[in-house]
Symmetry: C2
Subunit: 516 residues, 2 copies
Amino acid sequence: MPSVTGTNAHPCPASAESVPIYFCPKSAALMKATTSILRPFVNIVQSRAFNSVLSLEPSGPTVKTEIPGPKSKQLIAELQKTQNAQSTAFILDVDKSIGNYCVDVDGNVLLDVYEQIASLPLGYNHPSITQVFTDPKNLSQLVNRPALGVNPTPQYVKQIEQTLHPIAPKGMDHIQPMMCGSCSNENAFKAICIWYAEKQRNGKPHTEEELQSTLLNKAPGSPNVTLMSFEGGFHGRTIGALACTHSKAIHKLDIPTFDWPIAPFPRYKYPLEENERENKKEDERCLARIEELFHEYNKNNKPVVGAIVEPVQSEGGDYHGSKEFFQNLQRIIKKNGAALLIDEVQTGLGATGKFWAHEHFSLPESPDLVTFSKKFQTGGYFAKKEFNPKQPYRIFNTWMGEPSKLLVLDAILKTVKNENLIENTRKTGDVLLNGLKDLSKKYPNLILNTRGLGTFCAFDMKNSSVRDKFTTKMRNAAVMIGPCGDVSIRFRPALIFTEKHANIFLDKMNEVVKNF
Amino acid sequence: MPSVTGTNAHPCPASAESVPIYFCPKSAALMKATTSILRPFVNIVQSRAFNSVLSLEPSGPTVKTEIPGPKSKQLIAELQKTQNAQSTAFILDVDKSIGNYCVDVDGNVLLDVYEQIASLPLGYNHPSITQVFTDPKNLSQLVNRPALGVNPTPQYVKQIEQTLHPIAPKGMDHIQPMMCGSCSNENAFKAICIWYAEKQRNGKPHTEEELQSTLLNKAPGSPNVTLMSFEGGFHGRTIGALACTHSKAIHKLDIPTFDWPIAPFPRYKYPLEENERENKKEDERCLARIEELFHEYNKNNKPVVGAIVEPVQSEGGDYHGSKEFFQNLQRIIKKNGAALLIDEVQTGLGATGKFWAHEHFSLPESPDLVTFSKKFQTGGYFAKKEFNPKQPYRIFNTWMGEPSKLLVLDAILKTVKNENLIENTRKTGDVLLNGLKDLSKKYPNLILNTRGLGTFCAFDMKNSSVRDKFTTKMRNAAVMIGPCGDVSIRFRPALIFTEKHANIFLDKMNEVVKNF
């Protein structure tokens, strides 16, 4: 495993004559033409890390035009000719964006607390990621994408051992890379169904009837098993994942789905410390219904083989569940012979102040499967060994992940470790959440239910139109922030978001709510 | 759009002192350490194209060990500790592989007619792809993966217009990139369901009942519509795609699915010219059943909103359908108010001798949607404009494709055009198919039903154990070849596979079957 951030990092000179490290020195013409474009990268590569990338940041956000500005609007109109581009916030200038600041094509510089829907752990143009693409050792891995189920590379074998295995939750020695969050959940669910059926089959091989019937989409080969999910949960948009998604109607409308059990997920009153008794009752209500649903579906020959749950319902409105809720959920699932799949696609990799958000729950044992994507750049899942199918080609596809993404993940993980970014996130999260609580006291009708773990914070507003107006005003005050659920604002900054950035944010928000 | 293969291509010097173009000239230490590894790339970058990459190839395949060899076996055993690695053929050395030849970690050099399950259009380490990763203009696009539904880049807007739009089948102006073949099919299917429901709704908005019921996975919001697929078809392995997949039981066993109509796909007798009447009857049998299934499902309130079909059933055993079959299929689908989705994930991008395989069918009009992935490096679909949902967030996910893959696709498409690779594929396909037919005459009990379009060829063997033995023997004769279906061998060489390679292949195969 090459050290991409350690002492072997490539020391590119800092002088004005220096050229980017991926650059042929003899090609003067091309060099001249591109030197000015490349200047930022030269600087980035010189700097090693966290503090250095922050030193390249602007001193704060600046607005030049309304957002989206005229250039963004023109490009959005172009895009609109071939696809639905109504969800586009603005057009991103990836060359100029740096650290916690994204820059749009109109030259607006926004403090980014959304980070491409929570998918950039180190912000923009971080040197540790740039180095992955400029390190000559990596070139052939970038150029040749293998079918990992047939022809894995020696580098991939190492990546599984040295990049992914060390971050596996305890007791989860089965590792399956995938392409994205949805397909990670789809395949983890398939792994659960296979595990469950093998238990029922008790070592016997598939029957001829099973082999024939499954090709016709019939039982017993394609059994009527079900997966429990939660009201307000989000697990992706492919048809299996979508059957477990219940955050917004527009995600699901008009698409066929399964009759699978849908359980309530706690809806707490805030502040938590003033509503302990009521919130405990809410846990009990949800847990009782979960027990009931297992009973109902199992009785009706629609066995519940597992449950999929987010540690924090992230798209659905940043709803948290208590430690006790999750501990009891695991207990009920085990009692019913089912599997617990925790979806850490949005929560994983540090933003909650722990590497995995489910570590906050002190579960008696690890979940059975944990899915990931977004900040990891690659999808995939960890699972206990019994979820690794015995036969090949059951969990399989052409690519099954991508070594080049694992190169990036390796660089990210080293940076997170070397620069104590999870500790940073805990500290910054305190500043951010306390600041939000102060603002909530100051504007109690506007800012409701402040909550969070690490920098994974949120608050609610009175209704969706107020929330949407707030999002727009913040964006025009040069802060890129995202909504979730019907009335919530979610914080998804990078792990390099520091107290300084939190304070810039809080000042900007104070200004916006003051004049709201 | 930067020209990556045209006259602006970077002219790196050829002398022994030259360094790779992505390399800092001042870092002598690192340069020394890696120069020998990088030598092939220096050479590759010097050469421009097709002929040049071929000039770097070895003169033919060579075997040093049994395959998989001892080093492969050791690494497969490592991988087996954390995942099911039984499908692994050998461990690939991507540094040493070049053009049509893949090299394994034991130093075996194999002629590759499988190309990572049909996913490498230009073979290994083609200079036009290498240049994508060494062109400094591309660095920030490689480093910063945007959420394209929220923050697309100006480069992406151009890629849609200049890379994807020019290859859209006629009349298909809606363009939606995705991540892989399965999620392309899943989302294309969603687009069909939305299109169908909007037609039924006739301009009216969603009702409150629809909005509420869909969150509970119930009708009318989640309607009981169905998608027709075909016996032997393969469309992916996520749960929606898997419901349309009927190629092998092991892909589907134990996973819940939908009661959707499954139609027969023609099974022809070969040679075609001697079985015209019988094959016409086979078309009629299939088409009659398709009509029946529409009637049955529509009558039972499970409206068939579309059908998904491969131009050649590729995973299921390389089954071809006639021009007349596809023309009539389209007619029946239109008559029933449904949509025709052609899955070109494996067939698209030239291997059949046309850019899209469905061009062979002279359909009266374009299909309604066409999905792609594999050789394109990115997934996605083209569709008629009416399949572009009116509201945002209906076809949406975090990444929605990846600009860096579109950079690679652009380089591939320019190379395919500049080097006439589709014409090459037609010519090579003639040599290959005629050679297979000659071998079939020589060994009529061993090689059955030779068939193909371009280099997308196949033949059958007596049974699966003979077929598997043949695959192993070919691999140990240094030819990487893939099976499909129960008894078939499929050819999926790169588009740079020439007559010379076809003849090397045919000689090797002749040797193997002679001693079979």
